[in-house]
Amino acid sequence: MAAVTYLEAIRQGIWEEMERDSSVFVLGEDVGVYGGAFKLTEGMLERFGEDRVVDTPISESAIVGAAIGAALMGMRPIAEMQFADFISCAFDQITNFAAKCRYRWGAGVPLVIRGPSGGGIHGGPYHSQNPEMHYVHTPGLKVVAPSTVYDAKGLIKSAIRDEDPVVYFEHKFLYRRLKEELPEGDWTVPIGKADIKRTGSDISVITYGAMVHLALEAAATLANDGIELEVVDLRTLVPLDKERVLDSVKKTSKVILLHEDVRTGGMAGELAAIIAEEAFEYLDGPIMRITAPDTPVPYSPPLEEFFLPKTSDIIRVARQLAAY
């Protein structure tokens, strides 16, 4: 079987779910005739028709609002944000309507909101953001951020089948850079389960999304020096796989928290609090964070390069922490 890209894996996942379940449909800007800004929905209009591949006005709030209405009726809409940055326009519908329906009045909203996030493509402040924490902070949402081709497909399928609203951040830097052969048949990756992408005994690097690959690169380099990193890929930010995170920390006793999102209020802060509270007695060193600085994502190549966490950052911090 031929290797497929991260982007193709998401497309396959959506396609298979649409074949399997007639209540699954996609809506968003340019998803139909054009096949999506990244061509992720290419061919879907021809296969599934206008009712199930809906080109919408540039109205993110109405896209999500309409998806909520359909989900309340038992449909399984997949709302595309053309760039994850634009999700801010739908913030109210997602956080106040979709997230709270089940709690407020017992109404399930089986909805997926997906969009390309992340930097490294010179997209500038509005085509590079990592807006996951707004949604991590909102009870009622599940938040997913796959790092591999396999996880991308398995998690989009789980997201579509989930009974609650799932915000699915796919990293656009990985879209066509990753390729992997996928197994045949109907399989999924469960939401809420982290994955150990590399086992190691010295330091746990807890991360997600595109940063997983930097952590793996750093781990390969450091192994030559006899420093073994354990790379924990969260895969799902909500619900968090606390058990797997804590198990890893208890094993290695040293932690680096790594993400591409900005520093303050990032996932690393939350993880640090959990580890400090629940694995305090196992720690042999300070909990270290490697994140983007608290700035918008800049455009110019040297600025963006400075902004994004780098493999060399991980290597340096890991060496210092190992020696601590």
């Binding site: 449909f25 009712d51 199930r52 809906v54 919408t56 006005p57 109205s59 709030s61 109405a62 896209i63 999500v64 609002g65 309409a66 998806a67 909520i68 209405g69 359909a70 989900a71 309340l72 009726m73 038992g74 449909m75 809409p77 109210d92 519908q93 106040n96 309507f97 709270k100 329906c101 089940r102 709690y103 407020r104 009045w105 017992g106 109404a107 399930g108 009870p139 009622g140 599940k142 989930d162 009974e163 609650d164 619900p239 509270e277 629940e278």
Partner: protein
Amino acid sequence: MELNQQTLLDMLYYMKLTREIETRIERKLYRQGKIVGGVYVGRGQEAIAVGSAIQLEKDDCICPSHRDMGAFLIRGITPREIFAQYMGRRTGVTKGKEANMHMGDMRRGVIAFVSMLADTIPVAAGIAMTYKMRRQNNVVLCYFGDGATSRGDWHEGLNLASVQKAPVVYICNNNYYAYSTPLEKQMAVKDIAVRGAAYAMPGIIVDGNDAIEVFKATQEAIRLARQGGGPSLLECKTFRMTGHSAHDDVKYVPKELFAEWEKKDPILKLESSLLRQRVVSEDAVKKLAARITREVDEGLAMAENDPFPAQAETLEGVYADQNVEAPLAFANSFFSQER
């Protein structure tokens, strides 16, 4: 639906039932301290919800706002459930999770209102798009006030519904005040109905205090929607005969305006017209009043005896497949261990 004697009587019943329930809530329970949260009533606006929702069919839906109690009642929400909702009881529509008019139940086709005005405008479009996808001949009635039309979601939602020819009737309770802000400070247009043109849908001005006129305008809009003609915008002109909520002393509204609109009371208008045309007798009206008092008394008595939810329910219902962890769960287990 035909506007026959039975329909007219039903309309009078639901309008009076609305008035009675809201009067108890606002002027008794709230003042007695039995309602701890906000109270929002639609006194003087009862004709709009009732004249429209009365003609819905079983699988149709409503997206009501907080001054549309009649629409809830017509969809089968009971006085007991409403009182229990307001008093935070477990038997309330939302089991104590939500306040006041934020009631929803998909089995009865009622979508719960949220405080962010106009959020239900695109939601209604999505429900209606689903009807279309399923080739179901149903409609959504989506209610909102004049203030909601200032929000972006209102415009995004109307536009999407129109592009999709979604079977929705958008019904505005134009009661002249958005909290304390009068219409002329909310919008530069004189009539909200003119905004329909921007979205290529009929924009109809209706006397919102005339239940029969509301019925007829809605009937036409529903007919258009069921035929695939897309959404309509009905601007029902009315007046809010109270403050924004029970705590609002409403000093910003000139007294003359209340006096003027008191004369146009929608319940008196319908009742006197039905009496004049001998559709109902004085005796029937008395019986109707007695029935309403009895139903409201019974509902209230039951709700007052209904239990509050258990505190542990706070953590339930956020997700379908798991409960949320209690904040002190770790601390409790950590400090209880032998160390």
